[in-house]
Amino acid sequence: MLEITNLTASAGEKDILKGINLSVNAGEVHAIMGPNGSGKSTLAQVLAGHPSYEVTGGTVRFEGEDLLELAPEERAHRGVFLAFQYPIEIPGVSNAYFLRSAYNAMRVARGGDEVDPMEFLDVMEEKLKIVEMDDAMLSRSVNMGFSGGEKKRNEILQMAVLEPKLAILDETDSGLDIDALRVVAEGVNKLRRPDNAAIVVTHYQRLLNYIVPDYVHVLAGGRIIRSGTRELALELEEKGYDWLLQEALA
């Protein structure tokens, strides 16, 4: 589904990604871990097409297409979804309107018709249940004054509404209390299907108890320095990253 080969990227003068190789198949969940500042969010943003980052080399193919050639909204239309580490606030725009606009934009891009507000209410009712969110959140401005946890839950709500093929979750577990973590993780699990995939960026192996990954990768200094299975996450929790970094240097 996703094939990343020798991907390098920079922001301004700074080289951040220094040759990423990663291959994700339909039905898989990949966890990406790694120290602060190692380039995890950068990878996520580059895949989604953020204009602050310049791709300096390598290729990314998504379902056979050159992903890097596509505009951010086209990538979204193809089914690439990014749950932001820091969700953005949009004053004066209600969450319901935002969600419906996104939902309709996707439908139209895929050759369908827009749904009207009444039809969309039915869609929402079901999705709100997945993230156990109160519909009062729908009438508030997008992410404005949301608590950290509410923002993350709202990202998963968007994911539930848009039903992506490839979901990239950037630290969606950070700042969540235990209950919210369970809800978010269950939400992600409910949306798992044999024909979609997820890349889950996290610092905590705890999340991986809920969302069980097929592979775990360690990103450090802009490279994937180790890949393994779920056991790797447990090992990292126990030993930290230092031993891996030492090994990588050696």
């Binding site: 989604a48 097409g49 953020h50 204009p51 602050s52 505009a71 951010p72 909204e73 990538r75 979204a76 239309h77 979804f81 990014l82 932001f84 969700p87 953005i88 949009i90 004053p91 004066g92 725009v93 209600s94 309107y97 935002f98 606009s101 996104a102 934009a105 996707m106 891009a109 009207d116 401005s141 968007q158 848009l162």
Partner: protein, 477 residues
């Protein structure tokens, strides 16, 4: 990013056409003779001519204000034509007789004047250059005792009302542009809502500048008697021309005890091209006087004009009176706007509310200038001011000039201000959710302006959203 945004805000001006019609136009220049000529063309009574002449003599002693934060080449007042009226076979004023060319013009502007196609629930007075060409729903309104007609007609039909109220809120000596207008004003609208009457439909005036090198100087006077209420809309457009044209209007509102006047404007005069060539110089004095328990509410969406100089204000004369000002001002390319409001608290427990949203794009410069003045007897006066600016791109500017003068220590004033740059991150977030750059920007802009747009009457909200190329939440389609 910014090229996409600018493509959006820099939409083609749709109203820039010229109507080819024979006009009675006087030569350029201003003198007492010109003032007399305008007055005689309108067959005005002597008292009005005298008032004009006093204004003209006063104007000669005044100088153009230099304090606004706008820059423009000196205006040659002798190069302006002060009167131009379409020559029509039949007298103006009756809709049955309106010249088809003019009907066509208004149809193109989206303002159908012929009876079958009239805007439902909105009465329109159509002002073309210096004259009103027709007013719809007059008879219907007359059943309620409401007078809605052109200013010229009101001078003849209702001289006692005009004499009583003309200049009572904006005296001819008020400022340079008000004095000029008082000397040469040619037409405008007059509305009178009798005691206790709630006007059953929206009243509106549509101003169109057509003739070249001609200024438009209209006056609007709205009087709401005790307990009356009215919602009034004003729209304006002009052809695209490479020379600047002058527009200096005066609007006076009188809300007697317990009356309510809601005045909404969508100002879309030609703004000039992307290099700042052409466009309307818009110098407008708008002020209302609110008596006991009365409420005056100004809502404006200012998107046009090369230069805008405009401060719709409220004199809160009576106890418990309320003044409101909701404004969205958009500047793009080389446009400059210096706009805001004045709230003068005189009565006790008077309240004012100011919400100003400035959007600057291109090389546009947007200034908010607002005064809140609390007089010694205004016990318990309250003001809330919110003033937000949004910058689109790096070459534009936003400025705020708040003036506060408090002469009573029981007053409560709150002021909030913010400046935001339309964020790459916001746009990216919306694109990541599948929206196009255009839709992303329009959503962000609509969100920013929401508090003001919700004050606009329905018909106007639609026009405003079309103008800004944005879709309002909750609107169908």
């Amino acid at each position: 990013m910014s090229s996409e945004i600018e493509a959006l805000v820099g939409r083609e001006y749709q109203y820039g056409f010229v109507t080819d019609i024979d006009a009675d136009t006087i030569p350029p220049g201003l003198s007492e003779d010109v003032v007399r000529l305008i007055s005689s063309k309108k067959a005005e009574p002597t008292w009005l001519l005298d008032w004009r002449l006093k204004a003209y003599r006063r104007w000669l002693t005044m100088t153009e204000p230099t304090w606004p934060n706008v820059h423009y080449p000196a205006i040659d007042y002798q190069a302006v034509r002060y009167y131009s009226a379409p020559k029509t076979a039949k007298p103006l004023g009756s809709l049955d007789d309106v010249d088809p060319t003019l009907l066509e013009t208004y149809k193109k502007l989206g303002i159908p004047l012929n009876e079958q196609k009239m805007l439902a629930g909105v009465a329109v007075d159509a002002v073309f250059d210096s004259v009103s060409v027709g007013t719809t729903y007059k008879a219907e309104l007359a059943k309620h005792g409401i007078i809605f007609c052109s200013f010229s007609e009101a001078v003849h039909e209702h001289p006692e009302l005009i004499r009583k109220y003309l200049g009572s809120v904006v005296p001819y000596s008020d400022n340079f542009f008000a004095a000029l207008n008082s000397a040469v004003f040619s037409d405008g609208s007059f509305c009178y809502i009798p005691k206790g009457v709630k006007c059953p439909m929206e009243l509106s005036t549509y101003f169109r500048i057509n003739a070249a090198d001609t200024g438009q100087f209209e006056r609007t006077l709205i009087v709401a008697e005790e307990g009356a209420s009215v919602s009034y809309l004003e729209g304006c457009t002009a052809p695209k021309r490479s020379t600047n044209q002058l527009h200096a209007a005066v609007v006076e509102l009188i809300a007697l005890d317990d009356a309510t006047i809601k005045y909404s404007t969508v100002q879309n005069w030609y703004a000039g091209d992307e290099n700042g060539v052409g466009g309307i110089f818009n110098f407008v004095t708008k002020r209302g006087k609110a008596m006991r328990n009365a409420k005056i509410s100004w809502t404006q969406v200012e998107t046009g004009s090369a230069i805008t100089w405009k401060y719709p204000s409220v004199i809160l004369q009576g106890d418990n009176s309320v003044g409101e000002f909701y404004s969205v001002a958009v500047v793009n390319n080389m446009q400059q706007a210096d706009t805001g409001t004045k709230m003068i608290h005189i009565g006790r427990n008077t309240k004012s509310n100011i919400v100003s949203k400035g959007i600057s794009a291109g090389r546009g410069q947007n200034s908010y200038r607002g005064q809140v003045k609390v007089m010694p007897k205004a016990d318990g006066a309250r003001n809330y001011t919110q003033c937000d600016s949004m910058l689109i791109g790096n070459a534009c500017g936003a400025h705020t000039f708040p003036y506060i003068e408090i002469n009573n220590n029981t007053a409560t004033l709150e002021h909030e201000a913010s400046t935001t740059k339309i964020g790459e991150d916001q746009i990216f977030y919306l694109k990541q959710r599948g929206m196009s750059a255009e839709n992303a920007v329009s959503m962000i802009v609509a969100g920013f302006c929401k508090e003001v747009f919700k004050e606009l009457p329905m018909e106007f909200a639609l026009e405003a959203q079309q103008l800004l190329g944005i879709t309002l939440e909750g609107s169908v389609g």
